[in-house]
């Protein structure tokens, strides 16, 4: 799939407490999570971000808690792809499971406000502002099937329908 939008750039070790602080975890509704997304890293993020925009970060994005509220909050903001140098593993699998695209790539040359065009199938990140191209690391076949199906639950339903479960 192809996505176009603006970059919101973050640094290294953005933890799940920064993505969605625990004080909001008493309500797992998408609206509550959307409102407070990234609040402890950038208080005004949820009011600035538009559908299709990208979160771009450094190393170890999503470290810490297993809370699926974190990728849900990001997706609820309209962000469809997160690009980082590396991801913490539970955040990584949670994102695939809920159908949020995750790309690992060298994000050093991407800055806040850059316009990107991202092809998730080809793993290509075109920086329209800087006129550069970055290749993302390939995604294992099973995991791209998962995210393309819309996540683990949609994948499970498909399997049940096909009589494989």
């Amino acid at each position: 799939m192809i996505f176009k939008g603006k970059v919101f750039k973050f640094g290294d070790n953005i933890d799940t407490d920064a993505i969605i602080p625990a004080r909001y975890l008493n309500d797992s509704s998408e609206e509550n999570l959307r409102k407070h997304c990234m609040e402890d890293a950038d208080e005004s993020f949820s009011s600035k971000v538009s559908k299709g925009d990208f979160i771009v970060a450094g190393n170890n994005f999503g470290c810490g808690s297993s809370r699926e509220h974190a990728p849900i909050a990001i997706k609820a903001c309209g962000v469809q792809v997160v690009i980082a140098k590396s991801f913490a593993r539970i955040f990584y699998r949670n994102s695939f499971n809920i159908g949020l695209f995750i790309l690992s790539a060298d994000t050093g040359g991407i800055d806040d406000g850059d316009m990107l065009e991202v092809d998730t199938d080809a793993g290509e990140i075109k920086n329209k502002t800087k006129n550069t191209l970055v290749k993302a690391k390939p995604i294992p076949k099973f995991m791209s099937e998962l995210v393309n199906a819309g996540g683990l639950i949609a994948y499970a339903k498909k399997k049940i329908k096909e009589g494989k479960k």
Partner: protein, 424 residues
């Protein structure tokens, strides 16, 4: 001869229909215990319902523990706890724990013999890796993973590479499992074991008990690890034999098994550690930390990391007959009802209260900034918990320093970060 395997590969292999596996493979693994809590299970329950099947895979293999915001901290939390209760009732979930029986999940499940050596455990909580201390493969996953597992009894897993971590020699006075894991994270970084299994071994662990192993495995995730496992031995056997209600298996790594890395540490050179804000990798020697004269407002002793009876005993040993510093708060949270009761019987609760501390019923509470000890802006806590991220225990402009329970107790007495040697 078949390929030599690590303990982690063996446990995963024996939970699949495959004849062989290698690190990096994505496999479907059968799950022995699937865990959720009052924060993660509500999303899992919604997702489970979305799958559209009418039964859970096995009512005996699911554990639901309301512990994060329970006893309910507000109306919204009460609704989440109610969802767990109703789901547990509907499917007659065997390991559901109502308020008075519930404790911090990762202290409770080993204590009750629900997780055992050789098990494959998944939990919608990052500190599920705690059970590696028993020689189980245990890893934290998300709510959707929990939903899928509750439906089908299996889950996709990538077989991790392993890092062998060897601690040799006798630990110094006041050095506990907490100090070894903080020291290790300081050495390899918060991403140092990302996607990998940490395998702990060495003569040091003959000098430390199961509580220390549970603390070490608990914080494997703070190095990014998928799991943190110990090879089961006599200490394991002594811990599980009276608790287990079903069979368990001791697995061992083959001598020729492949490791991504082998790390060697001389335990005798390691002092108690303090991890400075805002990452667990910022660990420094207690003497260096103490010399900086860092004032604290609050000291927390509890959590899945250090809320066990051994932790409370050592804190009480330091606090006995002493008072905590003026304008300082000491919050002690026994991790389970059994620990609470034992602490009371042993007179520890009196010691904490006489010192000017408060003792809470079991809950995760302040560890994740939930309730029962939230920090205001500019405030600073020393805590026996596991994370010191920005805003973790309250306001985004507050600070958390991580340490073992002895350091937390000594710091409460002096109102500054201090070594137990300074008060005893």
């Amino acid at each position: 001869m078949s390929k030599p395997l690590t303990i982690t590969e063996k446990i995963i292999l024996n939970h699949t229909d495959l004849n062989e596996i290698s690190s990096g493979d994505i496999v479907n693994a059968r799950v022995d215990i699937a865990l959720g809590n009052d924060i993660t299970a509500p999303i899992a329950i919604k997702e489970f319902e979305a799958i559209g099947i009418s039964e859970v895979f096995d009512r005996r293999k699911i554990a639901l523990v309301p512990d994060h915001f329970v006893p309910n901290k507000d109306i919204l939390s009460a609704k989440q706890a109610k969802m767990l209760r109703e789901f547990a009732k509907k499917f007659d979930i065997e390991n559901y724990f109502e308020c008075g029986e519930a404790g911090v999940e990762h202290a409770l499940l080993p204590e009750k013999g629900i997780v055992l050596p050789g098990d494959l455990v998944i939990g919608a909580d990052s500190h599920t890796c705690t059970y590696g201390a028993l020689g189980a493969f245990a890893t934290g996953v998300g709510s959707t993973d929990l939903a899928y597992t509750m439906a089908f009894g299996e889950l996709w897993l990538k077989v991790p590479e392993s890092i062998k971590v060897i601690f040799e020699g006798k630990p110094k006075k006041w050095v506990s499992g907490k100090d070894l894991i903080l020291y290790l994270i300081g050495q390899i970084g918060v991403e140092g074991a990302n996607y990998m299994a940490l395998e702990f071994t060495g003569s040091t662990f003959k000098h430390l008990g199961m509580a220390d192993r549970l603390t070490i495995s608990n914080m494997a995730i703070e190095a990014g690890a998928k799991s943190g496992i110990f090879e089961p031995d006599e200490i394991t056997e002594n811990y599980v034999k009276s608790r287990a209600k079903r069979d368990y298996i001791f697995y061992k790594s083959d001598e020729e098994a492949e490791y991504a890395k082998v790390l060697n540490f001389n335990t005798g050179t390691i002092n108690p550690q303090v991890a400075f804000p805002h990452l667990p990798e910022n660990s420094v020697d207690i003497n260096e930390a103490s010399a900086k004269n860092i004032k604290i407002d609050q000291s927390v002793i509890g959590s899945c990391t250090n809320g066990r009876i051994e932790d409370l005993r050592i804190a009480a040993q330091i606090l006995k007959g002493k008072k905590i510093a003026k304008y300082t708060r000491l919050i002690v949270i026994p991790a389970t009802p059994d620990i609470y009761r034992l602490a009371e019987k042993e007179g520890l609760i009196d010691i904490f209260m006489d010192a000017g501390g408060v003792v809470s019923t079991p809950t995760c509470g302040p560890c994740l900034g939930g309730y029962m000890g939230i920090l205001a802006d500019g405030e600073r806590a020393i805590s026996s918990t596991n994370r010191n991220f920005k805003g973790r225990m309250g306001d985004v402009a507050s600070e958390v320093y991580l340490a073992n329970p002895a350091v937390c107790a000594a710091s409460a007495i002096l109102g500054k970060i201090a070594s137990p040697d300074e008060v005893s």
